[in-house]
């Protein structure tokens, strides 16, 4: 698939990012050249090769399912851009 300005716009939309016209132009060139590099894998014969999902081969380590104290709410909220009454504040979601 060719990377066009439409592709860039579609991707930006999926990523929830606005791009200026200049950014789109820059992205188009650099993304095209990176995708060209990624395309090189098409020439690799991977028949009968299982995808490697995890590079670590350890088995699961289980622990007891115990209730522990968690971090205090006000400490967590202290990093929020906006909070009120112990909750995050966001723009209205439901009309």
């Amino acid at each position: 698939m060719n990377i066009t300005e439409n592709t860039i716009e579609l991707l930006a939309d999926l990523c929830k990012i606005y791009l200026s016209d200049e950014e789109k132009k820059d992205m188009l060139t650099s993304i095209q050249s990176t995708v060209e590099c990624m395309d090189k894998l098409s020439n690799v014969d991977t028949s009968n090769i299982e995808p490697l999902e995890h590079i670590v081969t350890f088995v699961n380590v289980f622990r007891e399912d115990k209730v522990k104290e968690s971090m205090e709410r006000n400490i967590i909220l202290s990093n929020a851009p906006q909070h009120e009454d112990g909750c995050y504040v966001v723009p209205r979601v439901v009309d």
């Binding site: 698939m1 990377i3 592709t7 860039i8 991707l11 930006a12 999926l14 990523c15 929830k16 990012i17 606005y18 791009l19 950014e23 820059d26 992205m27 650099s30 993304i31 050249s33 990176t34 995708v35 590099c37 990624m38 395309d39 090189k40 894998l41 098409s42 690799v44 991977t46 090769i49 299982e50 995808p51 490697l52 999902e53 995890h54 590079i55 670590v56 350890f58 699961n60 380590v61 622990r63 971090m71 400490i75 967590i76 202290s78 990093n79 929020a80 851009p81 906006q82 995050y88 966001v90 723009p91 209205r92 979601v93």
Partner: protein, 487 residues
Amino acid sequence: MELYELTIKQLSDMLKKKQISAVEVTRSVLDRIDKLEPALGCYITIVAEKALQDAENVQKDIDNGTLRSPLAGIPMAVKDNICTEGIPTTCASKMLSNFKPPYNATVIRKLYDNGAILLGKLNMDEFAMGSSTETSYFKKTRNPWNVERVPGGSSGGSAAAVASGEAIYSLASDTGGSLRQPASFCGVVGLKPTYGSVSRYGLIACASSFDQIGPITKDVTDCALVLNAITGRDEKDSTSANIEHPDYTKFLINDVKGLKIGIASEFIGDLLDKEVQKAFIDAVDVLKKLGAECEEISLPSLKNALPVYCILAFAEASSNLGRYDGVKYGYRAKEYKDLEDMYRRTRSEGFGPEVKRRILLGTYALSAEQYDKYYKKALQVRRMICDEFNDAFKKYDIILYPTTPDTAFKFGTMTKEPMQMYKHDILTMPANIAGLPAITVPCGFDSNNLPVGLQMLSKPFGEGKLLQAAYTFEQNTEFRNSRPCLS
């Protein structure tokens, strides 16, 4: 010699003999920071008062015998993507410019338990995406060997601080070479441990199956000392290995006789700058003369490392960075129409161009239409690369090649063409793809007096062998004694 010039081992011995105090060492490094920081720009945040207070407290514990760790009282600094409770942790991004973590990363807790003195947080490429520290939202970091050159990246601040004496040692993270490449560019030692050796709890994720925290130090001995402190199983990181780690200082043995070293033929020759090639060949000769058995081997799958890395690391990053939405923490756009617009404006204003590029590329590779062609294919080739390494390590103890294709480049030379920047990490990516431990040690200088790094890889959890080989090389060459001339 000034205290800031010394190693952990030297300072620790002096502290034990009560020849110096932790406060004196900390002051010496803080004075060095005051002097050089305007020219080098290693730090995003400096916590001088806290450092001096901690040094005073640690000295009491050293004096009363409750703290015996070789790291006790030694001032250090960490890359700004490692969470430090109450101290800004920005990832060098506008997105996290006001973020103060409510907890310490496991590595920070471990270092504090060992009596380490935190000086501050080090500059990096934004969200660890870059190879020159030029994508930092805050500042440029300059290479102490030549301030017209980049320090490498993404951990440019971590490497430049150690090379210049602005920290005795540092912690950095390595996703595709982010620790080793700057260590090489700045003429210091850097070790990326085996994936799972060091807990990633509190490391702000870039590409989770590639990321690993490791030390940057002035020599291999210090590297073993820091590794002893930071490795180990952590129930807060389910990918941390449930194994018994040895005392890594036991591997500081000056002997490589009979050590089997494979030199990856794919990574020597035309790919390398001529002077890097020469320094590498000389380094191989040193190891041969010391009794190592070196021979060329072929690892043909390594030529696919770059596309595999671009697909998988960017895919993981795009997914990891989905969390930055202006709700729970981090930057939020000032003006917006509704929730959706807030998300979009926050992400558009909060992320820099390289981060946006990788989010777009990763999303492309993961999109339903392209998934099999890119993501699944890259996972298959990742297995081929791992299998090839596993086969090689049946015969060889160490695989050797340079850390970088050339030495530190000038500012702005690669920012226009991101693909050139990605290609620059071609020699460091394979260790992350296969989760292997890898170390870089200085092995020479080019005609511009810029350091060259020698890279050694070993099988998973083979850090001991790496340290032994690197230590032997270091003890039989003079490069560890070279430091940049900084007035």
